[in-house]
Amino acid sequence: MHRALCIFALALLCACAGKSPEKKLLNDLDPAISWVGTLQFAAERWAANSVPAAFLRNSLDSGEQALEKGTETVDKSRASNDLRDRLRDELNRSMAAAEMLKIAVQKEDRAAAAGPLRILADSDAALRHMQQEFEER
């Protein structure tokens, strides 16, 4: 029993240790990528008057923190430059969209959310495509 449990714990450790730098980076970026999807959803709901402005503002603050942390993770990573550049681009685009949303919320202009929503949707799709791409390798 004791041996079986040690083997299980070791297997888990090995599962983590065996990842390439690219897979590790995409794994570490999961919270940031998740927040891109969250901001898109939260903004859609705000535009549809389902959630209050205060909620979207708080979500944007939390989301921006996660995205900033994501770019720091990208900078520190040993993954390929190509992947890092692509990730950095999408994270920066998402942060720019978040800033545009903040202005829209401040002005209570729900129609102005359409532009940043498109940006977030594109970034979300691109980031999840990258995740799938490296998952399949």
Partner: protein, 405 residues
């Protein structure tokens, strides 16, 4: 009539003890990351908690003693001191998580920072405990807790693929992120089989003056009450699986979970989530604070009882007062409530053997329980529970490190 109303104890215990901040957090994470694949963990934990709650209630009904009291008497203070210390630490952490849950619900409704609500919430919970009787707490949170059925309604209205939902009840290996999968599985089990749940239940049965004639009622309450909580939790997991998972939203913040009901209830969904979370966590906070006060009073032989005037059980009242203040300080200090919750659930799973085994040993004491002691089935189930809790205890710590990030 009184026996019929005892279902309220079961519903309170399920709303407060089952569907609480731990369940909200773990089911949201499970559904968001793995869709319906972790339903089996919820079902397994429900079966185990029904058994434990039934045993706890049966014990109290036959002996008219609550568990901490009986364990201390039976095994001695030195033996009990270790589970008691561990239970106290878990109580404080869970109470802090529940207060965090209420604060987050108020933050959603008001837009004001979460920390601002820490002390007012602690005072609110304290006022409930100071001024109310056990029956009032029991009945009010039971009725208010019915709002959490919104998760069940949302799950039905989303028309989830029933085949996939049913398949989730069968344990499977994860298709991705195995360390996160097993961590969330352990956290779900830790959230459901919360140690304070069956300790509180036994004290509640003594407060309600159960006797041997309540044994059938106890069985029904355990099954229906925990079953009710489980159905709500399954609803929450399914909703997260249908709403959050396709969007790639993995719940690392309660703001992400708060969006769960906004698709199917465009106008009310946000408010329903906030109110459900607030009430579920309030019920749990009351339960945990009481459970802590019960365990202290019964350990040290003080007067105890929510139905007593605070002047008659001052030390009992002091315990819940101090514990609420300490718990509130966690949130006031800026502790992330979701991280606190997830960590606490994993710790709960880890300490389960220490707090559950003494109770399971008592259930086989034929001098105490006579014909109401555990039979073969209960003992087989008990052996299975002990084995599972030992496994959880060993694996939860590396999983916290690997999967909890």
């Amino acid at each position: 009539m009184k026996k019929a109303t005892q279902f309220a104890l079961g519903i309170l215990t399920s709303v407060g003890g089952f569907f609480d901040v731990g369940n909200i957090a773990t089911t949201a994470q499970a559904g968001a990351q793995f869709r319906f694949q972790l339903l089996w963990a919820l079902v397994l934990a429900t079966i185990i908690v029904i058994l434990l709650v039934e045993m706890s209630g049966r014990f109290a009904a036959v002996t008219q003693k609550a568990l901490p009291d009986a364990i201390r008497e039976h095994f001695g203070f030195r033996f009990w001191s270790v589970p008691f210390l561990i239970l106290t630490i878990v109580h404080v952490l869970v109470l802090a998580a529940e207060i965090g849950g209420i604060c987050f619900a108020l933050h959603l409704v008001s837009g004001l920072p979460l920390q601002l609500w820490a002390l007012p919430v602690a005072v609110l919970v304290w006022l409930f405990l100071w001024r109310s009787t056990f029956n009032t707490i029991e009945n009010s949170t039971s009725v208010l807790g019915l709002i959490t059925l919104c998760f069940v309604a949302a799950a039905i209205l989303h028309h989830p693929p029933l085949h996939d939902v049913a398949a989730g009840v069968i344990p499977t290996l994860p298709s991705h992120d195995p360390e996160k999968y097993w961590f969330i599985a352990v956290s779900i089990i830790g959230a459901v089989i919360a140690p304070y749940l069956f300790y509180f239940y036994s004290s509640g049965a003594v407060e309600d003056r159960w006797d041997r004639t309540y044994i059938p009622v106890n069985r029904a309450v355990a099954v229906l009450g925990m079953g009710f909580g489980s159905v709500i939790s399954i609803g929450a997991l399914v909703v997260a699986g249908v709403v959050l998972a396709p969007r790639g939203i993995h719940v690392s913040d309660y703001h992400q979970a708060a969006l769960m009901l906004t698709e199917v209830f465009p106008f009310w969904g946000y408010t329903l989530f906030a109110v459900s979370m607030g009430i579920a966590c309030l019920g749990a906070a009351l339960e945990v604070a009481l459970s802590m006060a019960y365990s202290f009073a019964q350990t040290f032989g003080w007067n105890w009882g929510e139905n007593l005037d605070p002047a008659e059980d001052a030390r009992f009242a002091m315990v819940y007062t101090v514990s609420l203040l300490v718990a509130a300080l966690f949130i006031l200090a800026g502790t992330d409530p979701l991280r606190l919750t997830i960590l606490t659930m994993a710790i709960s799973a880890a300490v389960l053997p220490v707090v559950a085994i003494p109770m399971l040993l008592l259930m086989n004491d034929r001098k105490l329980l006579r014909d109401a002691s555990n039979g073969i089935f209960s003992n087989l189930a008990t052996a299975g529970i002990v084995l599972l809790t030992l496994i959880l205890a060993v694996i939860s710590i590396p999983l916290v490190i690997l999967g909890g990030s």
